[in-house]
Symmetry: C2
Subunit: 261 residues, 2 copies
DNA sequence: AGACTAAGTTTCAAATAGTGAAACCAAACG
DNA sequence: CGTTTGGTTTCACTATTTGAAACTTAGTCT
């Protein structure tokens, strides 16, 4: 993590620092950040000061460590409520979870990565904050591939450039070419598989959530294990998943959902 | 909403804009923001552009409206996990909810306002994102007063300056003086009441979560209704609530929790 | 103790990035 | 078809940001 591309302006740098702090996943000291970043000492120092003053970071005076501030949590609540599909999709996810009894994921695209914005766990009650907000790779997950397949050329290109193509399992499509072929197949088929490409034993069936104009708004998936079911059996559910995705899309449409990269 | 005090530097302004967009609670057009803010057209325009480019905002090309971006959701996940008391307090909240059967709130201080970081609803299962992240007034809520009472002088002063002292109910302490007297009483008593000061019929008992050094880390409250119970009955629970708060504090201490304003 | 080192904070002139009034453009309106 | 409304771009002016280096603590080692 860290070492972002090119941050435009002071704001970009500040946000970059924010990401960096987030990346550590624990309170960090000034010097930790200094070694990570390319910013010179004084610059980084002032950025941290500003962010702290703004409440985006908090500084523990005793240990001299920085952590993400609560202002972020507040902003995020608003972000989740207004900018993600989650609040709209909520009742539909419940329905799908009831119908299938499997794990449900709702995801959106965030800078070439998959961002899970909501989830239903087969057994447990929902625990949102703890689950949503996680990110995952796009090239080897059902939701990721479902979205990639319907991205417009430039956006796809940008997303592909950000894929790492790590071979998680023997089934992972670990090259650009293999992935492109699969995307073509997904467009033909209308839904995406995850055939143990990310984790052995885990399979899923995913469909994109498309606006009327064909814009990718997100993706929806039903996940299970090879122990419990097969790809074919999951595939039988595809029409229902597609149906739910369409309902979500229709409702989101009326909210005129903004474009995702 | 909007019209923040004085934003230091470009970063401050950008974050200010972010807050403003969040404040609307729906996608906003450029001109909506323009009328709200004091920033001149061009400045606001460039800020929006930068934020959009950074993924903190998204711009719907069709409607020309801005909404909070998904990057925030991602950041928030990290913030919630690493910087709030919530993950630590989780099991204790469960315990308290089981014991009391009432609604439980866990809050922290955010720029003079109360930020709810977790919640247990008497009946329903937890629904985090939808509930946490909300803010409320400090001067007329149990958790707010519990925290104010133990703030160091300068921080209290800063917080007081941000209170609006709106008279929500006939019981609201709607002046600085009345509030200060109550804070003194809270310190004596060791816990705070909300005696229908925010909403008629709603009462609660709240205690601060204090670090070993006496720093305010957050507050914990048990809420009920006048229909179901009385302040006195709630007061009987105070020792237990305090006990749980102490446990949370102790565990947080080992994580060396950072200072809150 | 005294000398060394690591970690964080401050300085200051140079350079860059941000500012905002005003001009411009485009689409919607009457 | 001229006008208004809403959004984008320009450009000279300025304030902010920059970062090497100097400085200050607070530990550590001998």
């Amino acid at each position: 993590m860290g070492a972002e591309g090119h941050a435009d302006g002071t704001v970009g740098k500040a946000l970059d620092v924010l990401d960096m702090v987030a990346g550590f996943g624990r309170p960090v000291r000034f010097s930790d950040l200094l070694t990570q970043s390319d910013y010179p000492k004084a610059t980084l120092y002032r950025l941290l000061q500003t962010l702290t003053h703004q409440g985006m970071l908090t500084l523990d005076p005793d240990t001299g460590t920085y952590a993400l501030g609560v202002r972020l949590v507040r902003l995020a609540h608003a972000a989740w409520a207004q900018s993600s599909l989650a609040p709209i999709a909520r009742p539909y996810l419940d329905e799908l979870a009831r119908e299938t009894g499997e794990t449900i994921h709702l995801a959106q695209m965030d800078l070439g990565q998959v961002l899970y914005v909501d989830k239903r766990n087969a057994a447990r009650p929902v625990e949102m904050f703890a689950q949503a907000g996680k990110v995952g790779p796009a090239y080897c997950t059902g939701v990721g591939k479902a979205m990639l397949a319907y991205l417009p050329p430039e956006a796809l290109e940008a997303a592909l450039a950000r894929q790492s193509f790590h071979r998680h399992t023997p089934h992972t499509l670990a090259s650009r070419e293999a992935l492109l072929a699969e995307l073509e197949a997904i467009r033909k088929r209308g839904h995406a598989w995850d055939a143990e490409e990310h984790e052995t034993g885990i399979i899923c069936c995913a469909v994109p959530i498309l606006s009327r104009g064909g814009r990718v708004m997100g993706a929806l998936s039903v996940t299970s294990t090879t122990a419990r079911t097969t790809l074919e059996a999951l595939g039988a559910q595809a029409p229902m998943i597609k149906d739910i995705a369409a309902k979500i899309a229709a409702e989101a449409e009326s909210w005129r959902f903004p474009e995702q990269v």
